[in-house]
């Protein structure tokens, strides 16, 4: 019993210092820190939108429709005279939540079968991987459109479709890690002293996959945001009165020659936020890269 506690303690110590090393390296990545700062600010702006936004995003003013950016309306006004800056801030809520939702769905769909495939091996593994290959042979956006067609256009259905599309990568990541870790001597030892499968998953496999998983989550938050924007742009995602950045660009499309600002600002918001997610992902990867290479 005391042995188990000691090894547990040791392991805890090792993981804490690995985490500290990771943090120290991450703190040196200036662009990634900047991206993280931007994302935090954006999230705060979205949460506190009712206090931050200069106008009510739904308040119409038919005397001031399709105005160019001015001091009163920094991003201009839309076809109903609504303030575009306020709408962009409120749409951030939908866009961020949607990306989060899609990644969560992808994790729920991808992680358990990945673990099962990696640990069970043999026929189960073969079957799961065949299914994954088939899923990956679909052109992604066409499959998403087909799923939305069957389920009906709504933001949640669109994000279910995007989550399904993103899940194979998580599945492969989990499977690879589970297979590699299951071969390790310490897992064999754990198994020989009668540790249960779930204990091995919780104590040995999950801690090993957490860091690469975070890199993937960050990158996929960007990918999901792009996919949501595309689907909402087509009218298959966020439905009125809700508006995401993609849906704003879709509506602004109709007034493109008269009021380009209607598409410029929400589009820039998408591009900058997606770039921030990618840069953060790159920074996270670089912060743990060396450690993983040393283990190999």
């Amino acid at each position: 019993m005391s042995d188990a506690t000691a090894s547990e303690f040791e392991q805890l110590g090792a993981s804490v210092s690995a985490r500290r090393r990771f943090l120290r390296r991450f703190m040196r990545q200036r662009t990634a820190l900047f991206a993280l700062g931007f994302l935090v600010l954006l999230a705060l702006g979205a949460v506190f939108a009712p206090w931050v936004a200069p106008y009510d995003p739904l308040a119409q003013n038919l005397d001031r429709v399709l105005e160019a950016p001015s001091l009163a309306h920094w991003f201009g006004t839309d076809e109903l005279g609504r303030d575009v800056l306020s709408r962009t801030l409120f749409a951030a809520r939908i866009s961020l939540l949607a990306a989060f939702q899609a990644v969560l769905i992808a994790l729920v769909i991808g992680v358990p079968p990945g673990l099962i495939a990696g640990l069970a091996g043999g026929r189960t593994d073969n079957l799961i991987m065949r299914l994954t290959d088939a899923l990956m042979s679909f052109p992604p956006l066409i499959l998403a459109v087909a799923i939305v067609a069957a389920l009906g256009p709504s933001l949640t259905n669109a994000m279910i479709a995007v989550g399904i599309l993103l899940s194979p990568t998580f599945l492969r990541l989990m499977r690879g890690t589970a297979m590699a870790v299951a071969q390790e001597t310490y897992v064999e030892a754990a198994r020989s002293i009668g540790c249960t499968q779930s204990w091995i998953i919780m104590r040995h496999i999950l801690p090993n996959v957490v860091s690469p998983l975070f890199v993937q989550i960050s990158v996929f938050a960007g990918v999901a945001m792009l996919a949501e924007a595309g689907l909402s742009f087509l009218g298959l995602g966020a439905q009125p009165p809700d508006s995401s950045w993609g849906a704003m660009v879709g509506r602004g499309f109709r007034y493109i020659s008269h009021s380009p600002s209607l598409i410029v600002f929400p589009g820039l918001a998408i591009a900058v936020t997606v770039l921030a997610f990618y840069v953060l992902g790159d920074g996270l990867r670089d912060s743990l890269g060396r450690e993983i290479r040393r283990e190999e």
């Binding site: 088939a134 679909f138 087509l234």
Partner: protein, 314 residues
């Protein structure tokens, strides 16, 4: 080589079987009564009954699947619920538009990524490298529909240099085809160009550190010759894989790009069919798209065998 091709074809059978199951099950995931959903809110009971018999919705799912697959194998993808035309006929009409858009996008992405990747990969850490790397990240982050709208704004609305929408078949008028395809192909190809540039840059950096490059330089070969003949040739091999993977994304991207530029291709058909609840048509588009994607990946596989005899079965 023939053996190798046959083996690859056989490996496709289980894949296509699972794909057919997934495409068919789109009918099964429709919430509620599919006939009612597909007929629309103001359909008469007769119309709903007609759809029910038309799609055989009263039969068990297994029977429905067998009937649907048998039809697909015979080239019968059903009838459009919206226009009553045979689905395959409509698809074949629109396929050339999508293929020419995707092909033009690939050409664009190669025209951008090869010089950019070579310049950045032969001078890592230089200003040119940083500009290329930042450009590639930005290219990945820009939503393609937004890029398309910006291009329409600049090149069509403000300056009138290129048409904003429409499509002219290549066989009808090559010059007009090019004018119409430039903006959409650039819009579709930019993210592929970004991915290929990153890939080529990395591969060039690796290759330029190899001994045979040093040897080639040491024996006095010109820099340009070493880069183009020795380094690029080897660094380009992984690009073929990435290009094969990108084929899927490009086909997917046509959904948005065709919509923006008003091109009558498969992607535009898919979106229109969502709003008309034309499920047989959507299934048809998905089958056709997977067919093209699988075919392209088969070609990539075969080209590997061609380039590198080591992957061929003994």
């Amino acid at each position: 080589m023939l053996n190798f091709i046959l083996q690859r074809l056989l490996a496709l059978v289980p894949l296509l079987f699972i794909v057919s199951l997934l495409v068919f099950s789109l009918v099964l995931i429709i919430p509620g009564d599919p006939a009612y959903m597909l007929a629309g809110e103001d359909a008469t009971p007769e119309e709903i009954a007609a759809i029910r018999t038309d799609m055989g919705l009263d039969d068990p799912a297994l029977v429905q699947y067998a009937r649907w697959t048998a039809g697909v194998l015979r080239g019968d993808l059903g009838t459009s619920l919206f226009s009553d035309q045979p689905v395959l006929e409509v698809l074949l009409e629109r396929l050339p538009v999508t293929i020419s858009l995707a092909a033009a996008a690939i050409v664009f992405s190669l025209l951008i990524s090869i010089p950019a990747g070579v310049i950045a990969g032969t001078r890592p850490g230089s200003i040119a490298d940083r500009v290329v790397t930042l450009g590639a990240s930005t290219g990945l982050a820009i939503p393609n529909f937004w890029l398309g709208l910006m291009l329409i704004l600049i090149f069509a609305i403000w300056n009138g240099w290129l048409p904003a929408t429409g499509y002219v078949p290549l066989s009808e008028n090559p010059a007009a085809w090019l004018r119409h395809i430039l903006l959409p192909a650039f819009t579709l190809g930019l993210s592929a160009a970004a991915i290929l540039t990153r890939q080529l840059r990395g591969a060039m950096i690796d290759v330029m550190n190899q001994d045979y490059i040093r040897t080639a330089r040491a024996k006095g070969l010109a820099w340009r010759f070493v880069v183009l003949k020795h380094a690029l040739k080897n660094a380009a091999i992984p690009m073929v894989t990435i290009l094969g993977l990108q084929a899927n994304y490009l086909l997917g991207g046509t959904v948005i790009v065709e919509q923006i530029f008003g091109m009558p291709g498969l992607g535009q058909l898919a979106v229109a069919s969502v709003f008309t609840r034309d499920l047989p048509m959507i299934q048809g588009v998905v089958v056709m798209a997977v067919f093209v994607a699988v075919f392209v990946n088969l070609l990539v596989d075969i080209s590997y065998g061609w380039f590198n005899p080591k992957v061929r079965p003994q």
